[in-house]
């Protein structure tokens, strides 16, 4: 049983980690807490849903569509709003993204209605039996894709020219400006990538979760907690914290009560933050 929980928990955790990686990038590079992160993910879910309903595209195939759509939306949001508040105090940036969140969520409510929707008969269904373990196929494929995307982003940031420039501005923006880094362009790209992560995660989750304008709400605080535990701006930290939290949520849901699934994690976060306030679990 424990093994089963560990496996399903870490699969969900990898998908949470993908959402959190988007958040941690934006947070680490731009020092902006993106309140609208969950709502961007909700839009990603709807992109997949409508692609499925209207064109019969399987959610798996619409991942690029959702990713590109959210990437563009992220860049647009940066150009329209985030750009103007990038140097404002913490609270201003927070409220701006909260405003974005309100608008996105309720636009979805206006156009799509409050109903809970599910995608019926996607390609990925059922579960594999590995020994005594049941592995849900959509979750397993989703977890694999999440890991691939996270690895891709990791190498993009670490190895590519653009990625190195992004690292540079997150370390010292003034110095980066002095050596001629186009900070505005890189912020746009970073925000776009952060949003694209939620697009991929949304498409994956639309395979097996109910889709509604409220779907993103749970994930905001959850990703905040993952980011804080993993250390701000750390991709590997978000990955490990995501898995840990996925397992903790599944364990708590199983042994205590599904209703307390996330409450347990938030409580655990409080304990960690009190013991290691600045570093989270994995930072040092």
């Amino acid at each position: 049983m424990i093994l089963q929980i560990l496996v399903s928990g870490s699969m969900m955790g990898l998908i949470y980690a993908l959402v959190a990686v988007g958040l941690t990038l934006i947070w680490g590079v731009m020092d902006i807490i993106n309140f609208a992160h969950g709502d961007l993910m909700m839009l990603g879910m709807f992109v997949s849903y409508w692609a499925f309903v209207f064109f019969g595209i399987d959610p798996l195939a619409s991942i690029p569509l959702s990713a590109i759509g959210l990437f563009l939306l992220g860049m647009l949001l940066y150009k329209l709003i985030i750009k103007r508040i990038i140097d404002a105090p913490l609270i201003t940036a927070l409220l701006a993204t909260y405003g974005i969140s309100l608008v996105l969520k309720n636009l979805a409510l206006l156009f799509f209605g409050p109903d809970y929707r599910t995608i019926k008969n996607p390609l990925l269904e059922g579960s594999w039996r590995l020994g005594g373990l049941y592995v849900s196929v959509p979750k397993a494929i989703g977890a694999i894709i999440s890991v691939l995307v996270i690895v891709l982003i990791y190498f993009f940031i670490k190895k590519s020219q653009t990625g190195r420039a992004i690292q540079a501005i997150s370390m010292d923006r003034q110095a980066a400006l002095l050596v001629g880094v186009d900070v505005g362009r890189l912020y746009t790209i970073t925000f776009g990538i952060g949003a694209a992560c939620t697009g991929v995660a949304g498409a994956i989750l639309s395979n097996f979760f109910t889709i509604s304008p409220e779907s993103g709400s749970t994930y905001v605080l959850l990703s905040f907690v993952i980011v804080a535990l993993g250390g701000f701006g750390s991709i590997t930290g978000a990955l490990s914290a995501g898995v840990l939290i996925g397992i903790a949520a599944t364990l708590g849901g199983f042994y205590i009560s599904p209703a307390f699934k996330f409450a347990i994690i938030f409580a655990a976060y409080l304990v960690v933050v009190m013991i290691r306030p600045e570093k989270g679990l994995f930072g040092w």
């Binding site: 807490i33 709003i81 103007r84 508040i85 404002a88 913490l90 609270i91 201003t92 927070l94 409220l95 701006a96 909260y98 405003g99 974005i100 969140s101 309100l102 608008v103 969520k105 309720n106 636009l107 409510l109 206006l110 409050p114 304008p213 605080l221 905040f224 907690v225 804080a228 701000f232 009560s257 209703a259 307390f260 996330f262 409450a263 938030f266 409580a267 976060y269 409080l270 933050v273 009190m274 306030p277 600045e278």
Partner: protein
Amino acid sequence: MNRVKAIPKWTWLIFLVVVFLIFPFFVKKEFYLHVMIMTFLFALLAASWNILGGFTGYVSFGHAVFFGLGAYSVAVLGKNFAVNPWLGSITGALVAIGLASIIAFPSFQTGLRAHYFAIATWAVGEVIRVIFMNWMYVGGATGIMIPLTEPSLLNYQYHTNKVPYYYIIFSFLVLEIVLIYFITKSRFGYYLRAIKGNEEAAENIGINTTLFKHLAYYLSATFVAIGGAFYAQYELYFDPPMVFHVGISMKMILPAILGGIGTICGPIIGAAIMIPLDQFLRAYLGGIGSGINFIIYGLLVLIVVVFKPKGIYEFIGNLFKKGKGEQ
């Protein structure tokens, strides 16, 4: 010169108070009274949030938790032990201070960064909300009703008559503003602003920053809990999302920011704009269940935050200054 200027400012305030005092004699429509009551309530809450968030710079996303604790204290004590609601309010305030101290001690003692403090307060709020959702003793997800008693000030309830509620919440608000006014003029107020300006420097010149952060937090939580208790007595029924939802915390933060963070009048001006707007939009558009009201609300937040980041209060203040300069 100064004295001449000071007098009109005070008459202006007294005039406002008188207008609000006679308002219910002229406006009989229940809905308008309801809008006014909600505006006063959220002005009170925003001003309370501002004591911590505005004056010290420690942003809390979890102030709804004190609101909920205030509401639940009155309701549970009234329902299960027939405790008088006023006593319930005081208990609610004490419970709120208790929880605030549980959050404050580790946070302030370890010098938690503002980001972490904000998320921690939100996480506390979520945990408490889930607990109340699943705690059958307090009604769980179905919510809780205040037992009906004879309408009187002692019983703190008037059923459908909104006028007494109007005066009660208005007196709370006036009381709070007066208190905050004296705080900002006092040593305590200067210390709080010193903490916000530069905590390390404040500490170096011998201010016990931790102590004053604690005090600000408890004062803030107390007023929010009293507001929550009022809300319970006013609505007579509520469920956990109505009082614990993060949206309630936001409704305290937004007016403070929109009006002008860290000022006395800011949260009140903010509430005077946001809450009637919210109520009217909800009344005229919300019936469809479309969320158009929230879209407009959200857009307004964006516009103010992007174009007037220091809040409307400063904007109005500048207008006045300009006018005087030209004279």
